[in-house]
């Protein structure tokens, strides 16, 4: 079972983008949600398997500048909670 432990969105050029972070029995899942101005919604479900994996996802985000704080907050939550368990 997964539980929502973090959710934050920002508005960028009349679009809304954000990330939800879930904790599961096995680790974390990040969901990046983009609601476009044409009402199309894109949800990317990423298993947070390693620090590098998550950082690559964050760096490649086209809205990275607007999302820096969100990604930092998530990073802190994850690494604080499982320091030493992940690469």
């Amino acid at each position: 079972m997964k539980s929502l432990i973090y959710e934050r969105t920002v508005d960028v050029d009349s679009e809304r983008v954000g990330v939800k972070l879930y904790r599961t029995d096995r680790g974390f899942i990040a969901e990046r949600i983009l609601v476009q101005r044409d009402n199309i919604t894109l949800v990317q479900v990423l298993p947070v398997a390693s620090r590098d994996n998550f950082d690559e996802f964050a760096r490649a985000d086209p809205h990275h500048l607007a999302m820096v704080t969100i990604y930092l907050e998530i990073r802190n939550i994850i690494w604080k909670s499982c320091r030493g368990e992940m690469a």
Binding site: L42, Q44, V45, L46, F57, A60
Partner: protein, 237 residues
């Protein structure tokens, strides 16, 4: 590790699903996968939700979204009107933009590819399982073809799992109860408030109060909109 469909059906979250799928596809040489499910709202393409389960390099999915390739993706185009799997090298390509997208996909690990559509219902909900490896198509794609029957079943199960998972999430988030779902189901079947009251052995005013509570839970102003919301999220299944 032997793959069992029961494990997938009983998976409690996407992390478990992704690991199961990775293990399941490896014997056929697939290194990566993405499962995309398309969820139309208001039965309309214009309010579509695309949900990507990422079993590949995460930067590829960001690139795909940033370029809005879901608008022109030849794999999605194919999956919308076909049910049979297709190898990447057999995929119909109509535009320069589509060719460019596939070239970038190849640079990101999708050199050999297999596209496996899954169609769920009359409501336009579809899924597409993209399987890929970084070897040349002449080497990788014949291996994918050998797993055709398995991959078709896997794609359908992933679509079912995804729909069920969203259904649970919507019910949990909205706070709809079993009784609310029952009332919505009766409305969908054509029952009036008075007929529902008869069915449930309560007064019509009790039913109207329940309508109001349901509307508040799903954020709509009329019970017919709540029924439509329930249909779109497969709450009746």
């Amino acid at each position: 590790m032997d793959f069992r469909f029961d494990d997938l059906l009983n998976a409690t979250d996407e992390l478990e699903v992704i690991q199961l799928v990775r293990d399941a596809i490896r014997p056929w040489g697939a290194e990566w996968f993405v499962f995309v499910s398309l969820h139309p709202m208001d039965h309309s393409e214009s309010r579509m939700t695309y949900r990507f389960l990422i079993g590949c390099r995460p930067e590829w999915c960001q690139l795909y979204n940033a370029n809005r390739w879901y608008m022109t993706d030849p794999c999605l185009d194919y999956a919308r009107s076909n049910t049979a799997p297709v190898l990447g090298s057999d995929l119909p390509i109509h535009t320069v933009g589509q060719r460019r997208m596939l070239e970038v996909a190849a640079e990101n690990g999708f050199r050999s590819a297999y596209i496996v559509p899954a169609h769920a219902s009359e409501k336009g909900r579809i899924g597409v399982l993209y399987l890929a490896s970084s070897v040349e198509p002449e080497v990788g794609e014949p291996m994918f073809r050998e797993g055709r029957a398995f991959f078709r079943a896997l794609s359908l199960e992933l679509l079912d799992w995804s729909s069920q998972s969203l259904r649970k999430e919507v019910i949990q988030t909205s706070g709809l109860t079993d009784e609310d779902v029952r009332v919505l189901g009766l409305m969908k079947s054509g029952f009036t408030a008075v007929a529902i009251a008869d069915e449930l052995h309560v007064s019509p005013s009790t039913v109207y109060r329940q309508f109001q509570r349901i509307n508040e839970k799903v954020g709509v102003s009329h019970i017919t909109a709540a029924v439509r919301f329930a249909e779109e999220h497969d709450i009746f299944t």
